[in-house]
Amino acid sequence: MSQDADVLVEIDDVYKHFPIRQGIIFKREVARVHAVDGVSLRIRRGETIGIVGESGCGKSTLARCITGLHPITKGRIVFDGQDISQLRGRQLKPFRRDVQMIFQDPYGSLNPRRRVGAIIGDPFDIHGIASGADRKKRVQELMELVGLNPEHYNRFPAEFSGGQRQRIGIARALALKPKLIVCDEPVSALDVSIQAQVINLLKDLQEELGLTYVFIAHDLSVVRYVSDRVAVMYLGKIAEYAEGEDLYEKPRHPYTNALLSAASIADPDAAERRERIVLTGDVPSPIRPPSGCRFHPRCPKAQPNCVELVPELTARDGDTADHVTACHYPVDPAENLATEEAAIEQLSTEPTLPSA
């Protein structure tokens, strides 16, 4: 238990499993999806934590656990000194004021039948903070803050572009002056030119309002630009967690190496020089995750050890205490992963549904 006043959120060994039920009337659980499987993170006030990983690695589920949208299966989430993981329904309402979310899809996250003023003003209504002219004034202030024309108060979401819609979503998230904002891939649905605008807006708002962000994305360069610290997730677990630059300069986990080598580089000469690490197979099914290290069926450095032992997330030799890696055989900076060959037989990892 941390008494550190600097820590805003403490995520302690959180599990989130989704049961798969079958049967017509009497449903029984046949399997579970291990979406988040033992994640611990500490988020300090005013910093931005980036979470990266492939689709289906549990990033968005983790985000929804932090915002209280999904009740967690096991573990503890302490927000600002209060354990929120046991709260349900109405008890969560005061907590909702402090944690807000920005959603991925600017087209799906705004109700198409409501005017923008009503959407941004919703939080004031729900929490009984302001109404009537006061509410309108506050909404227009928010619109101005995120760079929208306050005169467009009465328009519908359909009359805005994708970037403007995302600004509406940001204004709605800011309405209650939250302490933490969870951004679930806030720019991945936008054009690249608009992405930069929205990211810069988020950064400016952080400086101005002292916000803490959890920033989820699969675009590594975006995460590098905004994050103080970055966590790499793979199949519901954190593979590596370090300060942003440290992680990008000195990735230790083979999976992080593979991710970074897959990211596009703007300089074509540099892109030609580097060697890509091509992973075999797909992400295995989170219904039956692999034993030991979850990455072993695809890892170029896999050893028999990796199949049996679950690696701990600790600082490895030659790293600072802040740089933790869950790997038995972390990668040396000088090492060339593309030429490595696994010491175990690696079967196909195509995801399959359990046969009933």
Binding site: R96, S109, P112, R113, P123
Partner: protein
Amino acid sequence: MSLTDLEAEASVPPASEEPDGRKIEGRSPWQLAWARLRQDKAAMTAIVVIVLLIVMALIAPLIAKWVGYAPDFGDRKLGQTADGLPVGPNGHHPLGTDRLGRDILVRAVYGARISLLVGLVSTLLAVIFGVIIGSAAGYYGGAIDTILARFMDVTLSFPYLLFAIALAAAFGASTPLTIFVITFFSFASIGRIVRGQVLQIKEREFIEAARSLGAGSVRTMFIDVIPNLIAPVTVLGSMTIPTAIIFESTLSFLGAGIDPRTPSWGNMLSDATETYTVAWWTLFIPALFLLITTLAFNILGDAVRDALDPRAERLFAAQKANRKKKRK
């Protein structure tokens, strides 16, 4: 006018105006749909026809007065031939008479009252029950969903004509009973579609956004779910009206609907089965009214669906553009 006045006028227009002075207004989806509907000539014709039918039904007593016969008055002198057969259209009876010498025009006009009343009321009831049951099933899920969805399936698999005839035999044919039967057999098809829509809306991100803001389930239901149902339900409703009107006529024709003494189009068709070989107008006139009414409602329903679905309009515009290109 002084120079300063002119200068003031030439100043930059406010942001809510286009440079040419037109005002930019935020138009609601309904205003846009209405604007699209107004472009549709067939739809506007259908609306005019429906309005005329409604006016006709409302002023039925005046029409009866003008013709000079009450709807259930059997005119033995002028309305029947010496052999007791119906007479064709003439100066006294503009559209002829039926086998009892009753004036066809007056009866058809009164029949419009019944048909429209039954059609609109039972559609309204079916929509209300369909939306309540369908959205409860979709929104709450679980056991509630299982029970309600199975109930709707059972209703849809019922042999409705047998059911209606049995009810009419047990309680006697009447207007409320007809409305009940039509509602009972129409709500399930609406409810099923509403359930599907709610399941879809429930997964949209704005529902999650509302939850993350702390909105309760009742608020979410009324502010975020139901307003998004209005468009599909409007379309379903306008498509159900003609079906309900036909349903009423079918029931009346079989003697299981409206009280046979009451003038309704179905009852008139039923009466005509005995005379249509010698007097075509007894069959033709009520059938024509029925055709015009259901056709108008169907066209309107189609047009409403197109108007509420912006994608259809884009397709429409693309077609028009193609046609123009070809002409060039």
